[in-house]
């Protein structure tokens, strides 16, 4: 009926030698949620910054709400809302003052903004803290305030750049609910994330990007199917057991087992649900492998990435810095 809310055509942005965007193409139909999925440095934030007029692409086209971002940035700013990776709130201002300020800078009527601020504070469960400086807020409250501020002008198109990164699981689920309600109200959302579960939860369509270009797209189901179903993951007692373990479970999997030296982990794609675990334990046992942990889980971004690009989603440095090594538990919380 109407043209898409967001269009990118061959977007290119280079920083020195690095191509942050390398011919990015995507389309977000009006009233839908698109999840832009990729590891750190894939170009997600650069893409969002290009759509929200924060940077000029070197070449290519970005159209938001039917308006060319490069030609009429000021018109684009009137119809979008942005919540970035770092909560863009003024910590000395109260929650209410933050929303009021943003509303005034959207050039909205001051009386209307006051009413809108009350409504948003109520809706995002910040009413009790409304008159406290944002400095005193928890991480989750700051994100909610940030999101509330970006909604003050009722933007038709909302950009969320890793909205839940750094949040604890409870705050993350709360924020998901808020976003789901916005979508019900008809807002178009482009959301970036590093978490497949998050895209899974919120987005109808997922676009996976790497090194500034699209490497896969589809619904979360099609993406998961494309990587060969569930994963069995075993953690062995001794690093020397990695190879025997991989060899033992290889016949049971749909893919070559992948070994990770750092945390003595072997992963393989399987089908057949939980019954496969019995076979895995049996063959590992007969190979004399001692286990620390064993789990069956849904594919993650890492798996999608490994399958699509042949390398893990995140380099070891980042991987090691992330405190989510206890895979079994982390996954249960997230899904």
């Amino acid at each position: 009926m109407s043209e898409p809310a967001v269009i990118a055509e061959q977007l290119v942005k280079t920083y020195g030698e690095v191509k942050a965007l390398d011919g990015l193409d995507l389309v977000v139909p009006e009233g839908t949620v698109l999840g832009l999925l990729g590891p750190n440095g894939a170009g997600k934030t650069t893409a969002v910054r290009a759509f929200t007029t924060l940077l000029k692409p070197d070449s290519g086209k970005a159209i938001v709400g039917g308006i060319d971002v490069v030609k009429h940035p000021e018109k684009v700013r009137e119809i979008i809302g942005l919540t970035g990776q770092y909560a863009a709130v003024d910590e000395y201002l109260t929650g209410r003052e933050n929303i009021n300020m943003v509303g005034r800078l959207y050039h909205l009527d001051s009386k209307w903004v006051k009413g809108r601020a009350d409504e948003l504070l109520e809706r995002f469960r910040l009413a009790d803290a409304a008159d406290r400086p944002a400095k005193t807020y928890s991480g989750g409250m700051r994100r909610r305030l940030d999101l509330a501020a970006s909604l003050v002008a009722q933007p038709k198109i909302l950009f969320l750049d890793e909205p839940t990164t750094g949040l604890d699981p409870r705050s993350r689920i709360e924020l998901w609910e808020v976003i789901e309600n916005l979508v019900k109200d008809g807002t178009t959302v482009l959301l970036t994330t590093q978490y497949l579960e998050e895209a899974d939860q919120l987005a109808e369509e997922i676009v996976v990007i790497d090194r500034g270009r699209v490497i896969a797209k589809g619904t979360s189901e099609t993406l998961k199917d494309s990587v060969g179903g569930d994963r069995v993951e075993v953690v062995v007692r001794e690093a020397s057991m990695l190879e025997p373990a991989a060899a033992a479970i290889a016949p049971l999997g749909n893919s070559e087992p992948v070994t990770h030296d750092v945390d003595r982990r072997v992963t393989v794609a399987v089908s057949g649900g939980s019954t496969i675990l019995v076979d895995v334990v049996r063959s590992l046992d007969s190979a004399g492998v001692v286990l620390d942990d064993l789990a069956l889980r849904r594919p993650t971004l890492d798996d999608v990435f490994l399958t699509l690009t042949g390398r893990p989603a995140e380099d070891d440095e980042i991987e090691a810095a992330k405190p989510k090594k206890k895979r079994g538990r982390a996954n249960k919380e997230a899904t």
Binding site: M1, S2, E3, E30, G31, T52, T53, L54, L55, K56, G65, G66, I67, E74, K75, R77, E78, I79, I80, L82, G84, Q85, Y86, A87, A88, V89, D90, Y92, L93, E97, M101, V102, R104, L105, Y106, H107, L108, D109, S110, K111, W112, R116, E119, R123, P133, A149, S150, A153, Q154, K156, K184, D185, G186, T187, T188
Partner: protein, 292 residues
């Protein structure tokens, strides 16, 4: 807005009501909104405000009592030096408004808040106007505290309220002007920590190579010329004349330097020129760092 954007159904809230165009235009409107935010910050960090008031007071006391006897002015008595000193301290203090702007802008630029501002349909200049307006406005309070301190140590206003008001307005204009230079410097700072140090550096020669603390007659010829053409010297001299603290401190140099002969006119011209240069420079720098 483009006609091609259909309005989606929305469950909550009325359609946003746009504000009508304000009398003074959006530049002023947006600048004032941001200035208000900066002033609220000042109130919310009372410790910072307190120490920014204490510092010039300490300067008054040190110069009045430590250097006072050593710098001969007028009759040569320490009392005369105190009369001479206070407008100088006023000048130095408003000049240091620039350092606050440098730090403030550097902080804004390195926090998430600047992305928020840049994605809003506000005027890009508002971040800079808001900063400079707030920093100059804060000087009203600082000058009030300093004036009281001055009165306590023996400084007096001799020429009545109208001239005194002119002097204070001149000081605020000067504060606003240097705040723009400070804001421009702040845009080049790699981080707020550097801004804290670098923002002050250029202010030391500007305030000390002047007549703020010592008479120009005591300086070697080359330095004297620099000091005489320093807009701060002209402004301080104009204030001394307006407050009636004129104690023959030009040492007959007024004939030699036009800036000292017409201190008020020279100050106004300097501020106009500096604003005409630094407002566009700063706004352009802000814009280009916006879209790299």
């Amino acid at each position: 807005m483009s006609a091609s954007v259909a309005t989606p159904a929305r469950a909550s809230g009325d359609e946003p009501v746009r504000s009508s165009r304000p009398l003074l235009g959006w530049h002023v409107h947006d600048g004032v909104v941001v200035a208000k935010r900066n002033l609220i910050q000042t109130i919310r960090v009372p410790e910072l405000l307190f120490f920014s008031l204490v510092q010039p007071v300490i300067f008054v006391l040190m110069f009045a009592y430590v250097f006072g006897g050593a710098i001969p002015i007028g009759s040569g008595s320490p009392d005369a030096y105190r009369e001479y000193l206070i407008p100088g301290i006023f000048g130095q203090t408003v000049a240091f408004a620039a350092a606050a702007s440098t730090v403030g802008i550097a902080e804004d630029m390195h926090k998430g808040i600047v992305d928020r501002f840049r994605s809003l349909p506000m005027k890009a200049s508002a971040v800079l106007f808001g900063r400079t307006i707030a920093d100059a406005a804060r000087m009203i309070l600082v000058l009030a505290v300093l004036s009281i301190t001055g009165l306590v140590v023996g400084w007096r206003i001799h020429n009545g309220a109208i001239d005194a008001t002119k002097a204070y307005l001149l000081l605020l204009l000067f504060a606003y002007t240097v705040a723009w230079i400070g804001a421009w410097v702040g845009l080049y700072m790699p981080n707020p920590e550097t801004a804290n140090t670098a923002g002050l550096l250029w202010l030391f020669p500007v305030t000390f190579i002047s007549n703020a603390f010592v008479p120009l007659g005591s300086m070697p010829a080359g330095l004297q010329a620099v000091a005489a053409w320093n807009p701060l010297s002209a402004m301080v001299l104009a204030c001394r004349e307006l407050f009636g603290n004129n104690l023959g401190q030009t040492d007959g140099l007024a004939d030699k330097y036009w800036s000292l002969q017409h201190p008020m006119a020279y100050t106004l011209i300097s501020c106009a020129v500096l604003l005409a240069v630094f407002i566009p420079l700063a706004v352009r720098k802000y814009r280009t760092s916006t879209s790299h």
